[in-house]
Amino acid sequence: MSTEALRGADPYPLEPRPAGAHAPPTVTGHGAGGPAPKRIVVGYGFWIFLLSDVIMFSSFFAAYAVLFKNTAGGPAAQELFDLHNTAVETACLLASTFTCGMASLAVGQRSQKWTQIFLLATGLLGVAFITLEVREFVGLVGRGAGPSRSAFLSSFFTLVGCHGVHVTAGLLWLGTMMAQFYAKGFRQDIRHRFLCFSLFWHALDIIWVGIFSLVYLVGTLPPELLP
């Protein structure tokens, strides 16, 4: 058996395959086949950031869960939250995560028109989400259920507000990406920035899944049904 045939059988060869060799790809992410492509490295670095962000959110989730019953005689979740509003917010964010995915495919196709259209749709849905959330917050504060009312409300505003701040920052980033694609075209570094943006936007929707399920749906269960 020749060396080449042996190599062909080994999915994790110790050295890179010669460029001309007719064999399956060897870039395995295990260090074989030379350094990983920049796209992979950039994505990994940003993924680490996102995970640290998720860990920060998990502390806020923990604080909310611990302080949930400490209403200090003030209003409890059951009488404050409007689930219809939450459902519409959820729909907006889920749709915007989908259009963001479509935008990343449009970038892959180098289609300026569709990239801008899908990014604009993503942005408008994000703005709708933020508008609904701000309206909800203003309503709560107006009813005397602001963040200073009780430990429960402090933890609620911290958790949901922090997510809202992330979405707002994401919207600014989104506008920048649209401008950069428009002005500079589909340059590699711009595409890497966009990869990070799409990861960020999808991750925000994952956080929102936790918020609408645990804060709103579980939070408004009748007290006798709560663990």
Binding site: T26, W47, L51, S58, L105, G210, L217
Partner: protein, 136 residues
């Protein structure tokens, strides 16, 4: 350097690979990529609808509702990770998966650890009324 489809912001390795390295194992067509997102969206919408439906129905055993909602949420997070963030078993993804596993460990420690410790703390605390009486 360029191929017909370069989905480098999606799940496929585009032109951006080191010299000598070959194309990604599976080049997917645009239709397949769109199909992946549509499937992910359909599953996410289904799980979201299920969450809201479970919240409103009497069919589920009451005290189990919170756990059912938690399970639906975790399932939907998994769907998002796979279909939107493209966390797969692909060798290129090995590092991402390991980092994710570590992140999940820390998140579980923080959330369940806090609930556990603070639950015991609450349990062992002198009730507020008794504390007031003692200070009189």
């Amino acid at each position: 350097m360029s191929s017909e489809h370069e989905f480098d912001a999606g799940s496929n390795v585009g032109e951006d690979r080191p010299p000598g390295a070959q194309a990604a194992a599976r080049e997917r067509t645009l239709g397949q990529e769109v199909g992946g997102y549509v499937l992910g969206l359909a599953l996410a919408v289904g799980l979201t609808a299920a969450s809201f439906w479970v919240r409103g129905t009497d069919l589920v055993y009451g005290p189990g509702l919170a756990m059912a909602l938690l399970v639906l949420a975790v399932a939907q997070m998994g769907i998002h990770l796979i279909f939107f963030l493209h966390i797969t078993t692909d060798p290129d993804n090995a590092n991402n998966v390991l980092a994710l596993a570590f992140g999940v460990l820390i998140v579980c420690l923080i959330v369940f650890g806090s609930l556990w410790v603070m639950g015991h703390l609450n349990h062992n605390m002198v009730p507020m009324q008794d504390l007031m009486n003692m200070q009189r």
